[in-house]
Amino acid sequence: MSSDAHAVHDGGTGLSNNKLLMWVFLGSECLLFGGLISAYLINRNRFGDGPAPGDIFDIPFTSVSSFVLLMSSLTMVLSLSALQRGDIRNNRIWLWTTALLGALFIGGQVYEFTTFLREGLGYTTSPFSSAFFTLTGFHGVHVSLGIVMLMSLLISSYRGTLRKENSETVEIVGLYWHFVDVVWIFIFTVIYLVPSPTT
């Protein structure tokens, strides 16, 4: 890393524009998820005649899918680390693993949603149900977008354009991915593990 006077001077931070953009965006996302989580918390005991959160949550199942998402952060960082070493093969393997773990998490969410639906918790059942599905749905959409990004990285990798020198791209996708993971860390604790109201 040369101390290129042009690159690092008083007029800028010398940081990559793209990476800075992603961090700025993640700062903004905190307010988005904060709003959704607050909307959930305010509504969690407003379940009316529908199922209550404390009765319907399946903690063991959600624990497994949370664990899956958590481990996908590890594989994400391993894929970046591989690419930074120029190890294209391991980079692809870990990208694939991350995407698959993400997909597994989404699959788990779909399963959870259908179970809830069967048990009488529809989107319109109560303020609690609306808030729950909206919050976890928004998170699910974020994970899905992350999977799309990972797949795009893989496509470009197979086209030979994802190389060591583009590792920042993987790093930026990784930032997004880890952010979605930390949001889930929060959701898992506050929404699932903190005891919820029961009927």
Partner: protein
């Protein structure tokens, strides 16, 4: 949208040949404008669109005042009136003041920090087109005869589907959502621009106050827009998918909407006013011929306002039934936000003190802001007293208050900016005589319109009423206010005339020489109008007001003496082979898809398919677009907008095998 596009940084060399991905090749005329990524053109587009919406919103204001001129008015019915006042508010806040601030920010921020462009030129174009799509989408509601009628604040459950069964509030929710995407992208872009693209030597504390205020505003947008995004999503889901967030019948809580809306809405107030504070802080020093008094205090008070703006939202809810402890806490936080605001006003006055004031149109408008905003600020203090607010809120006293802030503060500030920077943008000054007519009619009309509203409000006239009965003492001042609004309209007419006549007068004449005002900041280093590449070369900045310091110095007696003329200091603007980012089709294509998705959500979900297809196609094409157009007017090579910063990209291309590769930055 931005999160995907920001990420898909996929190398492009293998993907280029397909024709659709080639960059636009000049073409001239309107094609240049719709594909432009030049921050200056985008700034002009923002300004033009904002002015257009200003006329729409102004027309709505005329109708409101005509309806209220006399008791039992019959100009429009109750239903239409509710739509008009809602759209007047929404238009003026989201489609006039915010984009006009964006116009100034886009045009001037890169120039003031000595940059060639913003950090992400295509995202910049995208944010404009997305804003325009949102604005047009909102106003489409008129064509469908179903405009939003729940007020700009859209309190639930009145905006729920039971009480607002038409599509009006869907237009509101989706239109603002789209416009919000534009604001968020713009905010992220300008933050990165300020942090990474400043000229060598320009530390943050050598930035002009205007740039500072714009930076603070971008932070407010960055954190406030997601909150309204959440609120609008919840409203949309409630209305269209049967969720129960704000539906009390199912146990939902209408106050949740109020909290979310005002958590956004109060920072929004500062989003509206701070750009104007920035403009005033540039105009007053220039025409008082003194540096801004207490620069650090001006900057810190701006930051303090931005920061404190997050802790006062519930003063909009003093009467909504939140507990007395909340009311007390928000009473105090609201009061003390007056302190940094007062610091700003006093510093402006102190800047004028001991100066040599040239009272031209720009300066008149700027000092107009100082005194008119003071009225708005002081009436603001009177209703920060929560007990007093229980008498004042939702009356015309509040209407008077926020018009003194938004019209007397923000809008007059923009007019100051027009007169000040017009030569920079268009190469000629606006006429002074008409400018003074413009100022005096507007300031008189403004006070005749909104001054009486203080009295009306204290006399008990409620807001948002389509008519009132005689006998409450409202007749006189309503008539006066209606007369006033026509005086304002006359003032606007003078401005339009001025624009037309001064352009005609300037035709065939050489452009205004650089530095028509003996100005102080970096944008005046370049000729008028600004050349397409902004600066011939980087400017080494060593102080605040760098431009002024290159022209003037103080002799041993402390007297200010000239050391160089402006012509000697300014750049010629004739640099060649400056690499500039190439234009692109995709920002406008992507934004065109969004209203389609909106219409689809309202009328027929199938319409979402072409909309989503347009967006996806644009994202895809955006990512694989080649970095440059070899045949374009700007030469070739990499996009040059990252010339300050982005060390990695430069290092990588230098270090590796030299294969052609796309810089990360060009993919934005």
């Amino acid at each position: 949208m931005s999160e995907q596009t920001a990420e898909l940084t996929v190398g492009g060399d293998a993907a280029q040949p397909l024709g659709v991905y080639s960059r636009p090749k000049g073409g001239g005329g309107w094609r240049d404008w719709i594909t432009t990524v030049d921050h200056k053109k985008i700034g002009i587009l923002y300004g033009g669109a904002a002015l257009l919406f200003f006329f729409v919103g102004g027309f709505e204001a005329l109708l409101i005042r005509l309806q209220l001129a006399t008791p039992n008015g019959t100009v429009v019915g109750a239903d239409l009136y509710n739509q008009i006042y809602t759209m007047h508010g929404v238009t003026m806040v989201f489609l006039v003041i915010m984009p006009m601030a964006a116009a100034f920010a886009n045009y001037l921020l890169p120039l003031q920090i000595g940059a060639r462009d913003v950090a992400f030129p295509r995202l910049n174009a995208l944010s404009f087109w997305v804003f325009l799509a949102g604005g047009l989408f909102l106003n489409c509601a008129w064509l469908f005869g179903d405009a939003p009628d729940g007020g700009w604040f859209a309190y639930s459950p009145n905006t729920g589907v039971s009480f607002s069964p038409g599509h009006g509030m869907d237009f509101y929710a989706i239109g603002l959502q789209i416009a919000g995407i534009g604001s968020l992208i713009s905010a992220m872009n300008l933050i990165v621009t300020v942090l990474n693209m400043r000229a060598p030597g320009m530390t943050l504390f050598k930035m002009p106050v205007f740039s500072w205020m714009i930076l603070v505003v971008q932070f407010l947008l960055l954190f406030a827009v997601p909150v309204i995004t959440v609120a609008l999503f919840l409203l949309l889901f409630d209305r269209n998918f049967g969720s129960n967030f704000f539906n009390p019948e199912m146990g939902g809580d209408p106050l949740l909407w109020q909290h979310l809306f005002w958590i956004f809405g109060h920072p929004e107030v500062y989003i509206l006013i701070l750009p104007s504070f920035g403009i005033v802080s540039e105009v007053i020093p220039t025409f008082a011929r003194k540096p801004i008094f207490g620069y650090e205090f001006m900057v810190f008070s701006g930051i303090a306002i931005g920061f404190m703006g997050w802790g006062v939202w519930a003063h909009h809810m003093f009467v909504s039934g939140i507990g007395p402890i909340s009311v007390g806490a928000f009473t105090l936080s609201t009061m003390f936000i007056a302190v940094p605001t007062g610091v700003k006003i006093l510093n402006w006055l102190a800047t004028m003190w001991g100066g040599k004031i040239r009272l031209n149109a720009a300066m008149l408008f700027a000092t107009g802001v100082v005194s008119m905003f003071t009225i708005g600020g002081l009436s603001g203090v009177t209703h920060s007293l929560s007990p007093a607010d229980t008498q004042q809120t939702d009356t015309y006293y509040i209407v008077a208050h926020f018009h003194y802030v938004i019209f007397g503060g923000a809008l007059l500030g923009f007019f100051a900016g027009f007169y000040f920077w017009w030569p920079k943008v268009f190469g000629h000054k606006l006429g002074e005589t008409l400018g003074k007519w413009n100022f005096w009619t507007m300031i008189v009309g403004f006070n005749v319109t909104f001054g009486p509203m203080h009295i009306l409000g204290l006399n008990g006239m409620s807001r948002r009423i389509d008519t009132y009965s005689p006998g409450f003492g409202f007749e006189l001042w309503n008539m006066v206010a209606t007369i006033g609004v026509f005086i304002i309209a006359l003032g606007v007419l003078f401005f339009v005339l001025n624009v037309i006549l001064s352009a005609r007068r300037a035709r065939g004449l050489p452009p205004e020489p650089p530095d028509p005002w003996d100005a102080r900041s970096l944008e005046w280093f370049t000729p008028n109008p600004t050349p397409v590449h902004n600066f011939d070369e980087d400017i080494e900045v060593s102080s605040l007001d760098e431009f002024w310091h290159r022209k003037w110095t103080t002799d041993e007696n402390g007297k200010v003496v000239r050391k160089a003329t402006a012509a000697e200091v300014c750049q010629a603007g004739d640099a060649e082979n400056v690499h500039l980012p190439s234009p692109s089709y995709w920002p406008i294509v992507m934004s065109a898809g969004m209203p389609l998705i909106g219409f689809g959500l309202m009328y027929n979900l199938w319409l979402c398919v072409p909309g989503a297809a347009l967006v996806l196609m644009a994202i895809y094409a955006w990512v694989f677009e080649p970095p440059d157009d070899p045949d374009g007017p700007f030469g070739h090579g990499h996009d040059d907008h990252d010339d300050h910063g982005d060390a990695e990209a430069g290092d990588e291309s230098a270090s590796d095998e030299g294969a052609p590769q796309e810089e990360a930055a060009s993919v934005e």
